[in-house]
Symmetry: C2
Subunit: 232 residues, 2 copies
């Protein structure tokens, strides 16, 4: 968090102002969405002239990137907190906590969810800064898969025939995290990961309109099915 003690008075003022900018920007984002986020509106609310903001963020995209990082952090933190309340030996409970934790966060912060998991903004290529915080949730799922692996939980899917290249790629992912998960379970985990977010995106982006008037129950049912698939 605190990378270095700010000494000069101007530095602490600068840090505070940056926090104020991102704060009101996040509020504007939550209220009107990413396309409605305007540097001029933010600066106006902060009582400064629009050009002054460029001393703190070189462009609108830079501000957006900061908000993306914070959103990844928020959803990661929400999922972690939800999972932390569950007994670590209750693997099914842990998965359900993660899944519902992500969904609850997404439903309370739909615009921030759309910002990170929706269509990417204009000509914007996700910079490196966003990759690390994005992996926070996936790491949680990865650890769950590793625990299932350690418990020898039986997969409910037939093992797919994967090329050695893909198996190596999957192995590298778990090795990076210092874990061990079989390629077959990783493939299943990828499927669960995508179904989980597919479900939430469909719900938030309106694809369930005229299908479900309330996605609570179908979501819960699918979470159970996903858990069973992974071996719970």
């Amino acid at each position: 968090m605190s990378d270095s003690a700010p000494k000069r008075a101007r530095d602490i003022a600068r840090a505070a102002l940056i926090r104020e900018i991102t704060g009101t920007a996040r509020r504007h984002l939550a209220e009107e969405g990413a396309t409605g986020l305007s540097l001029r509106a933010v600066s106006r609310e902060l009582g400064m002239v629009s050009s002054a903001i460029y001393r703190y963020f070189p462009s609108r995209d830079a501000l957006l990137t900061q908000l993306i990082v914070e959103a990844y952090d928020a959803v990661g933190s929400a999922a972690e907190q939800a999972e932390a309340e569950i007994d670590r030996t209750d693997l099914g409970g842990r998965f359900a906590a993660i899944a519902h934790g992500i969904r609850d966060w997404a439903r309370t912060n739909p615009h921030e969810y759309a910002l990170i998991y929706g269509s990417p903004v204009p000509g914007y290529a996700a910079p490196e800064d966003t990759i690390a915080p994005a992996s926070r949730v996936t790491l949680l799922l990865l650890r769950l898969l590793a625990d299932l692996e350690a418990a020898d939980a039986p997969l409910a899917e037939p093992a797919p025939a994967l090329s050695s290249a893909l198996e190596a790629q999957l192995a590298a992912l778990v090795a990076d995290a210092g874990l061990t998960v079989s390629p077959a379970r990783m493939a299943t985990g990828i499927g669960v990961w995508t179904e989980l977010y597919g479900m939430i995106s469909f719900e938030l982006f309106g694809q369930f309109q005229n299908v479900f008037d309330n996605a609570d129950e179908i979501f819960a049912a699918r979470v159970e099915a996903m858990a069973a698939r992974m071996g719970v």
Copy 2:
């Protein structure tokens, strides 16, 4: 398609101009994305002044809605054509054709895919016009589920405990299409539907960055797993 024969000469000119507008708008959309679509740029390219476009589309959102409808139509048509080439008794092949057909279309038209399956645009609530064309793909999947049901294909998932309200809602969906699918298979189908689009969205929206450098194989493997889940 042709709702009524245009009689007056002015009407055919008007229809042709509307086609020209949507055509160049679609090109701009494909090249720069939804946020980069500008009425002024379209009108400029068509050699008319910006205000003239408002005679044909009352607002930018109206143009966007038209493009959304056409995009739903395009992906629906792509999926239908892919499926039509498969022997109708080859249920697994039909599902694979649909899945890969959607993905192929999405990869060739990423911005149009993002327009319909990504985060919804600003304050924009999907109008009724977009609901019918959106159901084209889901109807294809629904029919496949009904054929699996008729063949008594065994589900690879345990039947979930669903409330009678949810079962009724699922039953209404299939009844609307004049088909019969058990609630359990419907629940599985919902899961497959969401995983399929979750997979494509993750690939197109950059969530697979630093995970797979090529999603071809994992997608194919997951499609097989999804088919098996539904009873293939």
